[in-house]
């Protein structure tokens, strides 16, 4: 029997990560997003809260990590409003902010806000975005 490749889905052209236990040891991160919680890993040995989540602590090489919930509120450090240059499927404008969530910082996508409402210091909270195929990605809205 000849195997068939499904050309309308090729993982090498899919920006969204695999999120199930079959392909991702950190699938609980996505499961928590589905429940509206922003989780990351904390090292049981040295106590470091890590972003992105890990399976091994890069600070002390311990393999013992636990899931920990980040605070409900984060803060915008700086932001940018992108009006062109996105891959099809991303709706413009895209707003990206450098966010502080408790002990970690990362780039987050801001949704449901007008650019003029944004400013450094403004507070945001998680509002995950479901993808068409059921996978989920983090996004944030102003409080």
């Amino acid at each position: 029997m000849v195997e068939k490749l499904t050309w309308d889905y090729v993982y090498g052209c899919d920006p969204v990560p695999q999120q199930t236990s079959e392909f991702n040891k950190l699938h609980e991160y996505y499961e928590a997003l589905n429940e509206g919680r922003l989780m990351t890993t904390k090292c049981d040995a040295c106590g470091q809260v890590l972003w992105p989540p890990r399976t091994v602590c890069p600070e002390c090489m311990s393999g013992r990590l636990s899931w920990t919930q980040l605070p409900d509120e984060g803060e915008i450090i700086v932001f940018t409003v992108q009006e062109s240059g996105a891959f099809p499927g991303f709706t413009l404008p895209l707003i990206f902010a450098y966010l502080q969530f408790g002990p970690v910082r990362f780039i987050g996508k801001i949704i449901g806000a007008e650019p003029e409402e944004l400013a450094p210091g403004k507070k945001v909270r998680l509002q995950p975005e479901k993808q068409e195929d059921g996978r989920i990605l983090p996004a944030f809205r102003l409080i």
Binding site: P15, T80, P138
Partner: protein, 391 residues
């Protein structure tokens, strides 16, 4: 003691932009230009071959590209061959790797080619490929690419140091003006401050003229041990120092003030120390102006301007002809385009020409020492210092 290493030949593909040919054709053109720059060197003289190329797997569906490229330019590398991929800084890293091979005695003659075919029949594919140039799982999947990352750095620099959009735009004005004197530049046309400010917005605070374009291009260089170099040219250009430093990949793990590029400071200090020089000794620099803000921050971290004063440094003309140091005489990434793997090599080609007095209308008067800087992200930097052979 490491052996001294010199550049003895250098060239670029003829016209950067949308290249009307295949990846192989592009590599052929850069290879020919490199050999043509020094007819004493033949492909059979080359012992080592290094190719800098970032995503040929995606853009031309080809991996295993180092030997493909070596074969294309007629080189049978009997001592070493490899590809270098570290995103936008790959070209400089390839030169640095050739330097290491020669300095250590592993080979006497090494050719470096940087090549990137970024344009595909369906142009938006390139945006998808660029998602893979950041942390695809946690950043790229959200739609983040380089423009947004560097825009955040610009916002941070503006907030902390009061840098203005006008000052950033002046970088673009200067580099496009320089590019007008460079026949291979993707955009060899000067532009005004108003044109930059009023161009199509990309991501605040950048307009399209604050961003380096998507470009096909290639460049090549041949390096030799000092003994060999004098056999093949009367005007070798020596690599005097080099430094490289990285502190993180995801934006979670880079210095929190996104406009402070401490890893560049570290890489530059190592390069200056190795060369026994300071920023004041540099006459000409080719630096990584992937976005206009980048050049402002780079001039600070390289020590040309005080920290936080990169904006006034460009506004006061101190990085142009007649200033403290001429920055990006070939037109930078903004004017030439940024074919990822080719950029660092092309920067080296320009410095080779400048230090030999062969840069024509772009010539920086009495250029004796040059600096090349490439980056792969706000916290990953690669620096090379080149000096004239008669110093």
């Amino acid at each position: 003691m490491p052996r001294r290493v010199a550049v003895v030949a250098a060239g670029t593909s003829r016209k950067w932009g949308i290249f009307p040919g295949t990846y192989r054709d592009l590599i052929s053109e850069a290879g020919k230009a490199t050999f043509d720059s020094n007819p004493r060197i033949k492909p059979a003289d080359i012992e080592g071959f290094i190719l800098a190329s970032v995503f040929p797997e995606r853009s031309v569906f080809q991996s295993h590209v180092a030997t493909l490229a070596a074969e294309t330019v007629g080189v049978k590398p009997l001592k070493l061959f490899q590809r270098v991929e570290n995103m936008c800084g790959s070209g400089t890293i390839a030169i640095r790797t050739a330097y290491m091979a020669i300095a250590s005695g592993l080979a006497d003659v090494v050719m470096v080619i940087g090549a990137e075919k970024m344009h595909t029949p369906q142009p938006v594919e390139t945006y998808l490929s660029m998602l893979g140039g950041v942390d695809r799982e946690y950043e790229g999947s959200l739609g983040v690419t380089a423009p947004a990352q560097f825009a955040l750095a610009a916002q941070s620099h503006m907030q902390k140091y009061g840098t203005t959009q006008e000052q950033m735009s002046l970088v673009s004005v200067k580099n496009h003006t320089h590019a007008a004197n460079n026949p291979y530049a993707h955009f060899p046309k000067a532009c005004t401050l108003e044109e930059v400010l009023n161009a199509r917005p990309v991501t605040t605070p950048f307009t399209i003229l604050d961003c380096s374009p998507i470009t096909d291009g290639a460049a090549g260089m041949i390096l030799m041990s000092e003994d060999k170099a004098w056999e093949y040219t009367d005007k070798p250009v020596f690599i005097l120092g080099t430094g490289q430093a990285a502190s993180g990949f995801n934006y979670a793990n880079v210095p929190s003030d996104l406009g402070d590029w401490t890893m560049l400071q570290k890489a530059a200090q190592d390069a200056y120390r190795m060369a026994g020089v300071t920023a004041e000794d540099i006459d000409v620099a080719e630096v990584h102006d992937c976005f206009s803000i980048s050049e402002i921050i780079i001039t600070e971290e390289l020590g040309f301007a005080a920290k936080g004063e990169g904006g006034s440094f460009i506004a006061d003309g101190r990085s142009d002809y007649g200033g403290d140091v001429v920055i990006n005489p070939r037109g930078g990434l903004l004017g030439c385009g940024h074919p990822l793997g080719a950029t660092g090599v092309a920067q080296g080609v320009e410095l080779f020409r400048q230090l030999r007095g062969e840069a024509g209308v772009r010539q920086v008067e009495d250029a004796r020492m040059g600096l090349g800087h490439n980056l792969s992200g706000v916290s990953e930097h690669h620096v090379l210092i080149y000096g004239r052979g008669d110093l």
